[in-house]
Amino acid sequence: MTSMSRKIFISIVGSLFLGLLLSVLVLHQAQKGNNTTVEVTRKAFKAVEYSQDLRKNFLIIERLDKRVLAMSSFVSHEEIVSIFNPAKQQFMKAITGLKQNILSPKMAHMIEKLETAKDIWLKDSEILLGLKPSFFIPTMEKYNRSKNNLATLINEMQKLAANDATWISRKAQADVSSSLFTTFSIAMLAALAGSFAAYLLARGLSKPLVNLVATAEQLVTGDTSVKFAQADRKDEIGAVVRAVANFRDGIIQKLSLQEQLAEQAEALQEALAQEKHLNKLQREFVSMASHEFRTPLAIIDSSARRLEKRKDKLTPQDIETRTDKIRNAVSRMMTLVESTLDAAKADNGKLSINPKETKFKDLVDHICERQNDLYTTHNISSDTQGLPSNLNVDGSAIDQVITNLLSNAVKYAPGCPDIFLKGWQEQGQVRISVQDFGLGIDEDDLPKVFGRFFRAKTSTGIPGTGIGLNLVNQLVELHGGIIELESKAGVGSTFTLCLPIEAAQSQEQPLNFAI
């Protein structure tokens, strides 16, 4: 070998050696930076995760509280314990978790506040749920205050954790890049050839690292579509890539959880709106019902007084008119009481029918006759020729349905004495329509007519509780049938009862609405 080539050889070997040495340095530096990046990113993710857990379990307990405080139905101690205790445990775990992954001084401060707020709220909750005996029960206002205070803090915590996580991973990335840059400069100056080799080596190492940090940052902002190259590398880079890939999977899970939470929150919001609406309806119902009770009471009272006052001068006919009035008023009240009890029955999902072979046409005729006798102001013209003589139905339920439709027709058609009832068969169905020429129903109100406690705008001034049609509808549905409604404000309404000829076999149907 010539000295030249030896020189070259030595210089190459030397610079290679130097390059190698520097490469080791770079590698070391890069790994150090990488380790801290991984560590910090993990911490950030953990904090975000725990802040979400916090919220989730808070919501679980809050929903339980609401149910128990409504006192609308029994919630057993055992059930309360079985929901409350695990949720509380998870809640506490999330707080401990947050304490171990504090990202910023602000967050540390927030956790302190959260811990105090949590103590107050949990204590209020536990007393109200009967888990902690006390002779001083928080008022709703106190409970709401402690709850709202905590809810605000939890929200803020969630935001803060997400923000801190983004900021921290960005900072870690910057640190790694700058330390790599210094090392590279030295390497460049020391040995061009070595540095070239080192550069090649470093590039192989740093590029995936920098990519990775960018990926992590992307992840924190919620973009989970990122791809991972070189995950199968056997070295530390490969390990790091796999670790971050694992985080990505975690994040995807978190995100879907978050979505679920958002859905849950939305569902809660909807339930709340629904509840508010029901509350309003109920309030109207309560005042309506008490009014309903009072009107017949007043009639009874005045008739009885008159009887008493004029007891010597009364002819049998006078007595009859008065007693008729009294009996009518009594029967109105009975109907009201019964319909209220029926409604309560329906609430418990206990409404049931008992279909059997029934003389159907006779039944309908009988109802028409009976109701015709009852009404002095209206006349029912019935055409029942088309009805089958026998049908498998629950007679008393059908009686209730038709009677209700007829009495509605009378009630909502003051001054329009004609009511038509027609029965026929069509497409495997038995149909009975009840038509009046009264007030009719506004178009906006049509879809709501069968709802609980609903009273149409046009019904203003006419007593009623809004229970009847709701019940009618349920009874018909139990038969597998439906009620069709055609109506126009100011023209009149036609309710058509449609029953399948192959009558309902199912006897009970789960009813899912609650107050």
Binding site: S73, V286, S290, L341
Partner: protein
């Protein structure tokens, strides 16, 4: 004395400092109206949510009345501040009762029950309306029989009272426990007391001054409850001797009635023990005139000579004691 005069001198001299003093005084006044944040329960009848729920169901259950036609809410209707919007309620015999149903709001803080204070505990009180012939006309043996037929009631009484099950005193305890949870909602006035200046209108704030000052209302309608749990004759025209029946020898007890709370007044017309005043205007006119002068009339009641403005401010203030919302959910009664 001299010190006092000099003080007075300086006060009038520096209007600023005197108005400061006024503000301070009104702050102190507000403190007396702070709401309690907890409901007191008696040691012998502790709260549990299941017991309160049971009580609520019984409260709304007509099966507690002889003819299954009335429940407690028939006369203590949540939509009308737990009263009825007629002079006096009508019981099962269809005749009006002698007295208006008092509100049940904040009843946990009321120490003597009924208008004349003849019952001392809610447990004792609830027996009255259930069995009274003119009210619900129920009989406990029949009620117990009826409730025993309802499996859910049976189950819950057993659970809550393993020894006694369904019995007169367990029924009453449950109802009383529910009643204690009836608390008036947070009203604009309460938010003002807590520091929200915008919660009351200027007229309402002036009304508060009249209430505590020239109106002298606060001498009986005290604290956040606006009631002192005492009996007074306010000069109302009535044949009812009220507390006089319990204390026949006490001159001042004649025509004396328990001071009622003033919360949710807007839902609770007509007013007074006999429902004889239909509007708040009528009430203010009565107080302004001092009512009927008789020996039993409280010395705190004298003609007031309030101006027109003061009267309307006072009414505006009374209205600030009604909450905007009132969420009462009905229980689902077991069958």
């Amino acid at each position: 004395m001299q010190k006092f005069l000099t003080g007075l001198f300086f006060l009038t001299l520096f209007g600023l400092s005197s108005s400061n003093l006024l503000a301070q005084e009104s702050e102190q006044l507000k403190q007396q109206y702070k709401r309690p944040l907890e409901i007191p329960f008696p040691v012998n009848a502790p709260y549990s949510p299941q017991l309160a729920t049971l009580g609520k169901m019984l409260f709304f259950d007509p099966r507690l009345s002889g003819n299954k036609d009335l429940n407690c809410a028939s006369c203590h209707n949540p939509s009308f501040g737990y009263e009825v919007p007629i002079k006096t309620p009508i019981g099962t015999t269809k005749t009006p009762l002698d007295r208006q149903a008092p509100t049940l709001l904040n009843i946990a803080w009321v120490t003597s029950l009924f208008w004349d204070g003849r019952a001392l505990t809610l447990e004792k009180q609830a027996e009255g309306p259930i069995t009274a012939k003119v009210e619900m006309a129920g009989k406990f043996d029949i009620i117990i029989e009826r409730l025993e037929e309802i499996s859910e009631y049976e189950k819950w009484f057993k659970k809550l009272f393993p020894q006694k099950g369904i019995a007169k005193d367990t029924i009453l305890t449950a109802i009383a426990t529910y009643e204690r949870t009836i608390v008036s909602e947070w009203a604009p006035f309460d938010r003002w007391v807590e520091g929200d200046e915008a919660a009351l209108s200027p007229a309402q704030k002036r009304g508060f001054e009249v209430f505590n000052g020239p109106g002298k209302c606060a001498s009986c309608h005290t604290g956040w409850l606006f009631a002192d749990n005492q009996f007074h004759d306010i000069g109302l025209s009535t044949t009812d001797i009220g507390r006089g029946k319990i204390e026949p020898n006490n001159v001042f007890a004649q025509h004396g009635f328990k001071t009622p709370t003033l919360r949710e007044l807007t839902h609770r017309a007509p007013y007074m023990h006999n429902g004889s005043l239909t509007t708040l205007q009528d009430v203010i006119e009565l107080y302004n005139s001092g009512g009927i002068k008789r020996i039993s009339r409280s010395p705190l009641i004298t003609p007031l000579n309030l101006s027109k403005q003061q009267k309307s401010d006072l009414i505006a203030f009374l209205k600030s004691l009604t909450a905007e919302r009132n969420n009462v959910t009905m229980p689902i009664l077991p069958n």
